[in-house]
């Protein structure tokens, strides 16, 4: 059903820390890996060994330069981009077949591939480029928040997180319930000011981002914090001698 449910129970999502992400693409490939593993799950690759390869990925990492107006420095940061599991998910309401839906119990936005006709409209409706039409299977693919991991009885409890979260080497990705004010993700959002992407699109994303902390803040001005008179060789050796006598 493409009518959006009220997710009053849980709002599961990701918290992504741009201050920590080093742009290693580990999450990109782990995601592709998990979502191509076994069963019917496949994300296709066309022209895999030829010119113009095109493959389906559910997560991407971009690299940006930003002019920091406070420090006049050019900074770089990395930006992982995937489905934000929006509360007002436009990709769901536009779907004509009912393949696109948002789960009431946890807010995860999914595609039922058995119903998808591959019109691509949901991808057009998503501001974030979170959906990719798989050109081999002809159906829309998107981040499932690893719904086949997070509830899986086959995995150990600590592995019941999205694979991008498990694999992230720096720990820049966290998974949790944003509806629960006491969850780690909610606390971090509060503490560091988690932000929405394109809030003007009124999609109310569940996923939140933590922006790079202000860098170089104590760069200029810390000079002289060690207020020691400077010395020459003779002075230094004399000081050393006196100091060693105290040991």
């Amino acid at each position: 059903m493409t009518k959006l449910p009220k997710c009053e129970d849980k709002k599961l999502g990701l918290l992504i820390d741009l201050d920590t992400c080093v742009g290693c693409h580990g999450c990109v490939v782990s995601c592709k890996e998990w979502n191509s593993s076994g069963g019917e799950k496949q994300l296709s690759d066309i022209n895999s060994h030829q010119k113009d390869p095109v493959g389906t990925f559910l997560n991407r990492v971009h690299s940006y330069e930003r002019e920091n107006s406070c420090t006049n420095e050019t900074e770089t940061f990395y930006f992982p981009r995937s489905c934000l599991h929006c509360e007002d998910a436009p990709c769901v309401t536009v779907c004509p077949t009912g393949a696109s839906y948002k789960r009431e119990e946890d807010g995860i936005v999914l595609v039922n591939e058995d119903d998808c006709m591959g019109c691509g409209l949901c991808a057009w409706a998503c501001p974030y480029g979170a959906r990719e039409l798989d050109l081999v299977s002809g159906v829309m693919k998107k981040c499932t928040l690893c719904v086949d991991r997070i509830y899986s009885e086959d995995l150990s409890p600590e592995d019941r997180v999205p694979v991008c979260v498990k694999s992230c080497p720096t720990g820049a990705r966290a998974f949790g319930d944003f509806n629960d004010p006491n969850s780690d993700v909610s606390k971090k959002v509060k503490e560091r000011g988690g932000v929405d992407l394109m809030p003007e699109m009124q999609t109310k994303p569940v996923n939140k981002y933590l922006l790079p902390r202000i860098k170089s803040k104590d760069f200029v001005g810390s000079v002289g914090s060690v207020v020691e008179e400077e010395t020459d060789a003779t002075g230094l050796l004399g000081w050393v001698d006196r100091a060693l006598s105290k040991f």
């Binding site: 080093v22 693409h25 890996e33 593993s37 066309i46 010119k51 810390s222």
Partner: protein, 932 residues
């Protein structure tokens, strides 16, 4: 909804083994269904990665199923370099190899040149070469990071790299020098995550602000090759401000040692020692000459001494005199480094404030090497990490030494919050072997090839005064070349200098492409024939690789290797360690799936060859095979009694650690334990390891060494002083005259810095050109990977804003890059956050047409490029007409990053990178799309 939740069921059974994509060697869970690998993810219990996995590891499935995998042994049928082969059987292949190798061993074993590239079993391959009897063995360390390793081992018994790590849980300030995605990458990423989480400060010193550098709190976009100067300027500033750890210097370093300063003296620059060779110091309180190691001695750092032989000053005094010189003042240094004076001062302040105002104290008594009890561990929570950006310069050894000097001055090595060793390190240079190179027909070498020289007496010359090794390792040109010089091998084999060779045997080293300097020239040397005999100048080449890399086409006999999921391997303490500062670990790989091709693991093949060649150690006195295969070797081989390749699960009950009897169940136990073994270091032994009795005792118990080896840090490196004293050597062992000046200038026993370029060259080629490895593609392997090549399928030259504007570049433009050696044409892109005199690109993205099972029209082979063509393996002729190798003068480390270029815009570019090479024929088909 059920449908969504049951996907894990289809993942089959899990086999736990070890990743292979880089030197991290993370633990992986490989899911296997119907003998097919279906999924790989990180092993949560593994000490290295704790479940995380990078892009390379996560795409291992395409490493394992790569279309470019070789399928059967190959014998060249066309010309070298064409890529035309016939498939032969293993019996034939081994027979041919033995026919080539057997006469060599019988007559002149040095005519086999055996170099392994990205080999993760160097203790085994080195052992094999030793048994064969050739002195010509090394792995790829010489062109990788020997500066880092040698400077670390010589100075403090361990280096950055994967031999130690910052104390991630306690450090408050971390400085990263020249680190891109590199060795120990997942542990570093995990560590950075911890620092970020705790709000600890990270300062990155790197010409380019990508990756780790981008999350650093501060970034210093330094001019390539000037890090040493920056560090010594910080040393200057700290000395001026008296911000040094005197207790540490006095107790644990050679700074109180007395150095002869009388220039007429034959022992100038050497330490004052008693007749047993024990270094002497002046006791601060009594003023008497005492042995440093004596109980109760409080060595003076400042008092001089004279006797009949001359005068002596303490290392500390020399150090003070040297670094307080105004030439190291931030004001003079900053412009040379492309930085501001305030940046250097602020950096020095941060280091001093953190080290001394935020010091840590752990209340845990311990006993030092003099037997004196200490009540706790003082910590200086400043940590450093440095990698290839530092080491791949010709001043890299001294630069690494300078960084270690800085660490030591503030007392932050192996202390809480500082840099900590990973067992089995620390291990001082004199506890490592010396180089061995004495060969004779039909017998094994006199010892392990690689090691650490103590002075000129350990250099590798034959009796007639010629270099003993084909790579001229351990000669006056590069006396401390502890990892050999793989980058000189092809050139020297080609020219027969220092002697002619017969067979070049390479393993997993892409020497005809991205692993060589001057690729175009290297390729010519591989195919050139002798004008008189018509034979190839390098008569025979045997190569083992798993894949159809660019180099395969240049070999005569190909021994196809397995993939990493199809073989046994040991990640051994005899080799490069894994593990963490608080625990010792080793690990295995084991065949989690069987090969579906007629390939054999290289180690198995070496053992088979060893048996057929009847090499000692591989056959017994009755010529009977000793080890069935490599797995058997892993369990049954003993280097010393009780010490084998694997340290865990030894003994009859598989309960012994480190030392113990061999066991036939050992591998089984490793597999049951998740593919690894680890053991915690006792709390009392966790810090101050070089001087900590408890650690030394534990290390002996574990078998890292056989007697306690406490040592002190070599701020002043006496072996270098011995080299500088070359005039004392008998004439036949003296260095060639043209090296005198270089030895005197560069082999300073205290860290120094010099510019790698003369001003003439800088005028002609004012721009630094460097490469970085993308985090998602560590090796040339990545290009064949279906997923990774979609991320990094082509590369551009990133140009700084100043150059971009000056040359009026626009998006989509192409440029010609010219060095002293050659020129290339490449696409450009703007990147502002880099040093203004620098251009850079991703390493090893460019591919040769026809290789790696890629179609010849792929982006990698058309737009993609490598800058290796620009880098010469030899420097231009100097005044006396000699061409030095493009290497560090001390270690022979390949100076990849010394490259200087100029850049010009190309009008009407053909949109194909240049140079281009003929398309290689391929014994494997271009890959096709398929489900994985």
């Amino acid at each position: 909804m059920d449908k969504e939740v049951d996907a894990t069921e289809s993942l089959g059974k899990v086999s736990k083994t070890t990743c292979y994509m880089c030197a991290c060697r993370c633990g992986i869970d490989v899911h296997i269904k119907d003998n097919e690998v279906v999924h790989i993810e990180g092993n949560r219990d593994h000490p290295v990665n704790k479940g995380v996995l990078c892009a390379k590891g996560a795409s291992g499935i395409f490493q394992h199923k790569a279309a470019s995998r070789l399928k059967k042994p190959l014998l060249r049928v066309g010309e070298r370099g064409e890529g035309k082969f016939e498939q032969i059987s293993w019996d034939e292949a081994l027979k041919i190899a033995v026919e080539w190798l057997s006469p060599i061993r019988k007559k002149s074993p040095e005519k086999l040149v055996f170099y392994t590239g990205r080999d993760q079993s160097q203790s085994f391959t080195g052992w094999w070469a030793q048994k064969f009897g050739t002195p010509n063995y090394a792995a790829h360390g010489g062109f990788c990071s020997v500066n880092m390793a040698a400077a670390g081992i010589y100075t403090m018994g361990g280096s950055f790299w994967e031999f130690g790590s910052p104390d991630w849980d306690k450090t408050e300030l971390m400085l990263l020098f020249g680190v891109a995605e590199d060795h120990d990458s997942n542990p570093i990423k995990r560590g950075l995550g911890k620092l970020k989480n705790r709000g600890a400060k990270v300062i990155a010193i790197n010409p380019v602000r990508t990756g780790y550098n981008s999350v650093a709190d501060q970034w210093l976009g330094i001019r390539p090759g000037t890090d040493g100067l920056l560090v010594l300027s910080i040393v200057h500033t700290l000395l001026k401000r008296k911000k040094i750890d005197l207790d540490y210097l006095q107790s644990f370093t050679n700074s109180p040692f007395l150095v002869s300063v009388t220039s007429t003296n034959n022992s100038k620059g050497l330490f004052l020692k008693d007749k047993d060779g024990s270094p002497l110091v002046i006791d601060h309180f009594s003023g008497e000459l005492k042995r440093f190691s004596d109980k109760g001695v409080k060595p003076s750092l400042t008092k001089s001494y004279s006797n009949d032989y001359g005068s002596f000053k303490t290392v500390f005094t020399l150090l003070t005199e040297k670094y307080l010189d105004n030439s190291y003042s931030p004001k003079l240094v900053a412009p040379q480094c492309g930085l501001k004076e305030e940046q250097i001062l602020s950096l020095a302040d941060d280091i001093a404030t953190t080290a001394f105002n935020k010091s840590i104290y752990i209340d845990q008594s311990w006993v030092d090497f003099r037997g004196e009890k200490r009540s706790g561990f003082t910590g200086r929570p400043v940590s450093f990490h440095a990698m290839r950006g530092i080491s791949a310069h010709s001043n890299g050894f001294q630069t690494c030494r300078a960084i270690h000097l800085l660490q030591i001055l503030i007392g932050s090595v192996d202390v809480p919050g500082g840099f900590r060793y990973k067992p089995p390190y620390p291990k001082p240079f004199d506890a490592h072997p010396r180089p061995h190179f004495k060969f004779s027909p039909d017998s094994e070498l006199d010892g392990p090839h690689l090691g650490y020289i103590g002075g000129p007496e350990d250099l590798a010359y034959t009796e007639d005064g010629k270099p003993a090794r084909i790579d001229k390792g351990f000669t006056w040109e590069n006396p401390m070349s502890s990892h050999g010089l793989m980058h000189t091998v092809i050139a020297n084999c080609h020219s027969g200098d220092p002697y002619k060779i017969d067979t070049l045997f390479l393993y997993m080293a892409n020497m005809a492409w991205n692993s060589s300097m001057n690729t175009e020239e290297t390729i010519k040397k591989l195919i050139e024939r002798d004008a008189e005999t018509g034979e190839y100048k390098i008569p025979r080449i045997i190569y083992s690789d798993s894949y159809y890399s660019e180099t395969v086409a240049y070999a005569d006999l190909i021994l196809p290797d397995t993939t990493y999921l199809e073989r046994y391997d040991c990640i051994s303490l005899l080799d490069r360690p894994i593990g963490e500062p608080d625990q010792v670990s080793d690990a295995i790989r084991w065949p989690v799936v069987k090969p579906d091709r007629d390939v054999r693991s290289f180690q198995d093949v070496l053992l088979q060859l060893g048996v057929m060649l009847e090499l000692p150690g591989m056959v017994d006195n009755n010529k009977q095979q000793i080890y069935e295969d490599y797995a058997d070797y892993m369990q049954m081989h003993q280097r010393r009694p009780g010490i084998g390749p694997l340290a865990g699960f030894r003994g009859e009950a598989n309960t012994d650690c480190g030392r113990g009897d061999v066991s036939l169940n050992q591998i089984k136990k490793y597999i049951e334990n998740g593919g690894f073994w680890s053991e915690k270091i006792p709390m009392e032994a966790q810090y101050y390891k070089p001087w900590n009795k408890a650690y030394q005792k534990w290390a002996v118990e574990m078998g890292f060494y056989d007697k306690e080896e406490p040592f002190i840090f070599q701020i002043y490196l006496e072996p270098l002083a011995k080299l500088q004293n070359y005039h004392q050597m008998p004439d036949n062992l003296k260095p060639p005259k043209h090296l005198y000046k270089r030895i005197e200038e560069k082999m300073d026993p205290l860290p120094i810095w010099w510019s790698n370029h003369d001003s003439e060259k800088v005028k002609k080629y004012p721009i630094h050109a460097i490469t970085q490895r993308p985090a998602a593609m560590y090796h040339s392997w990545g290009s064949q990977n279906v997923w990774l090549r979609q991320i990094h399928g082509s590369n551009k030259l990133f140009v700084s804003e100043g150059i971009w504007k000056e040359k009026k570049f626009k998006d989509g433009d192409w440029a010609r890059l010219t060095s002293e050696n050659s020129s290339i044409v490449v696409p450009v892109a703007l990147m502002k956050s880099q040093n203004e005199n620098t251009v850079w690109t991703w390493n090893a993205i460019g591919k040769r047409k026809g290789s790696w099972a890629l179609d010849k029209n792929v982006e990698e082979a058309n737009e993609g490029f490598i800058i290796n063509h620009l880098i010469s393996d030899l420097l231009p002729k100097n005044n006396s007409g000699y061409r030095y190798s493009n290497s560090d003068p001390i270690t022979g480390q390949a100076a990849w990053y010394d490259l200087l270029v100029n850049i010009e815009k190309v009008d009407n570019p053909s949109k194909v990178s240049l140079p281009q090479f003929p398309v290689l024929s391929s014994p494997v088909n271009v890959g096709v799309d398929k489900k994985k």
